[in-house]
Amino acid sequence: MTEPVLRIEGLTAGYGSVDVVRDVHLEVGKGEVVALLGPNGAGKTTTLRALSGLVKASAGSISMDGQDLTGLTPAARACRAIAHVPEDRGLFRGLTVAEHLRLGPRGERLDAQLAYRYFPALPHIADRRAGVLSGGEQQMLAVGRALARRPSLLVLDELSLGLAPVIVEQLLPVIRAYADESGCAVLLVEQHVHLALEISDRAYLMAHGAGSDSHDAAALRRDRSVIQASYLGGQEWTPTADREKERDGEMQ
């Protein structure tokens, strides 16, 4: 089997002396879209932040293309072709859209045209500051900027946060298309479980800081009870999950 782009083994990380993520295993291969699913507070964001080096891992290893990332600063990891769109979108309010598409580490030229191709609305707002954009526009910019860096690993944390489902339904297929065209590995955290599974190859489920084995996305799509049983642990549905159930019902 070929080496996966990202391999996380036995990751334990947290804030201060409290571990909020324990012994998580996870792999993402080339051109693969992998979803990381779980209720609020499960530790998904923390896992991604540990991957980018924003949170220190207390145990375990994270490697890209077989190379260990331990000890590298967040900036150095970003320079290893990891594009991480964090929960808060990671934009700079005072910089314009065009400036965002110029802003990269030394020696890295962003491909603004690529961003404009995937998000045709962006060129029209190129001179606006990120701080005055709508939520959807900001998210397009954040993802567009990430794509323009032509990463080998794309990490997306809750793209849907604060966005209308219609917009999410437009954004996610773009990700799938990009992964297929470029061979980029994508790790995706998403509350809209149903939409995420639609574009994913595989998924990991997280609850209370513990990860799961890999699941086939198609299987999860068919049998939602796995998700209910394993990560909602018999608890009530979150509002978003509820909405999805309704929508699933309508579709059937």
């Binding site: 980018s52 080096g53 924003l54 600063t73 967040p74 900036a75 150095a76 970003a78 320079c79 991480h84 964090p86 808060d88 990671g90 934009l91 700079f92 309010r93 005072g94 910089l95 400036e99 110029r102 802003l103 990269g104 580490p105 030394r106 890295e108």
Partner: protein
Amino acid sequence: MQTVVLFALLGLGSGAVIAGIALGVVLSWRGSGTINLAAGATVMVAGYVFWAVRTGFFGFALQTVPAIILTLLFMALYAVVVELVAVRPLRSASPLAKLVASMGVLLLTQALVLLIFGTSPLNSPSVLTSDVVSVFGVAVPEAQFILAGIVVVLAAGLAALYRFTRFGLATRAASESESSAALAGLSPNVISLGNSVLGHVATGFVGILAASIVGLSATTLPLLIIPALAAALFARFTSFGIACAVSLLIGISESLLYQASNESWFPTQNGSAVPGVQQVAEFLLIVIALWWRGSSLPLRGDLVERSLPMVPDQDRLAARVAPVAIACAVALVVLPSDFRQAVTTGLVATVLCLSFVVIMGYVGQLSVVQLALAGVAGFALSHLEAAYGIGFPLGPILAIAVATVLGVLIGASALRVRGVTLVVVTLAAAIAIEQFVFANPDWGGGQSGASVESPTLFGLNLGTDASFRGLDGSLPSPVFGLLALVVTVVLYLFVANLRRGDLGRRMLAVRSNERAAAAAGVNVRAVKIQGFAIASFLASVAGVMYAYDFRTVSANSYGTMSALSLVASVYVLGVTLVQGGVLAGFGAAGAVIPLILQTWVLPENRVSVYMQLIIGTGLLIQLRFCPDGLLVASATKRERRARASRAAKALTAVGAKPQGGV
């Protein structure tokens, strides 16, 4: 009208220097989120180094252009050193620590310059043309215009750099959010270093050109940071253009003010103009800037969680205080006279340092106005006595009240602003008080100082000239020292207990997070004002005691640089701990530690400069290796050990074996 225009033009030179410093302040802020109090010292360093290589001070003299180039290279190196010593190690530290670090750089560089080049101002060889142009028939040096033009070009160049280059983009991004910048692959260290070098070279360049126009003095140049901070505040630490424009306007206004002071309508005293109006104007300008711009000052989203110095418990107070108090009492009787004097002064300085413990350690704000307040209390005491015949004990009570109220008013002017901006207000206030009050022939002591009668109660002399003498039979009498000891112990216990009480807890809540404290129902402004009132009160008490101690009040003892040294020494030892205040007090000017150094170690006439050097160095080392302060680090270690052994005892008590490791 003609004179007005003329003087406006003559202000361009000093306005340009202020602008050069303000640009450095903006660059530091955007590069690393530091309010760089040492930006004024950068002008000083560049000016002196240029003077030295130009005039052959180091044994070789260069022509103007090579000398400029060499100086600028030196400034770049200086920037790298400052960055590695005082900025990078504090990347993840609290804003207070970053601010204090820049204060350390200021103290250290000024002390070094004073030691190497001496205290008297120098005349720097002029760099720009010495031609003059005729304006309304009066000769104005052309250099003024050229310098102002250069500063404007510099500001425009920096603005363009920030707008159009990758480096500028990266800096703007990182100054908004360091974590987002890191995710974008931008290294905060490189960005910070780049801006630091840029700032030091740009400010240094202005310093070289301006040295011959504004004069080269290690005592005045560093303090130009105050008008520069005012300009930077108007620019919200962001806009080069606004910083430059406001600086030039400040220079022009000061020149006009100077011209106005010769006019008949200007307020005068004893036939000469009231001094210090310019410094009061600068203070008011900063207050205005804070009210106008304060709430919109950009906050940085930094990468790492900030931590403030630990606040250890104050336990077993009586057991700890009693031996020291007894030792002091004995020392006050048996030691030779100069040491008795030094112990007394140390006790008084301790009270002053306790005020820093309250405002910095408990409330988490950096205030440097306390020494000036002490001076106000001292002068008030002297004048109440001389002018109204009010003596002990009403005199000191009124004097303390006056200075405390003044302190609260100054603190209130910074209330609207979150964060560490109080330092800017208090720094400006300290200078304003120094120039406006102390230097005033009526209110202050003028050049000679104001005398103070010894306190007497029921005919009993409690002063340093009481009839009861030390063992060697000479002055000063131990009586005042013992009185000071009692006051100091009482106030020490008060400050230590404050930490344990309800108000202390609210202060610590405000210190750790103003918003969270407010959300938890703490009235943040009220707590800050109370903290500031207590600190001002302590400083005023110290001021009155100083006056009785020396029986004269002179402006020299209350200088702003001495105040910064004092703040720094409290911080080094541990700003959250009352013991830190005591040790810092005994290390203060005129107290025991300087006396020991002066008697046996250091050349007598420069002991204060050496102390400043030691404190500045100590501060930078402490911030790097022991960020909580020396005493705090050992106290927390002891606390942890005590807790571990208590836990172990509890375990053995219930029959379990203590586990290794915590």
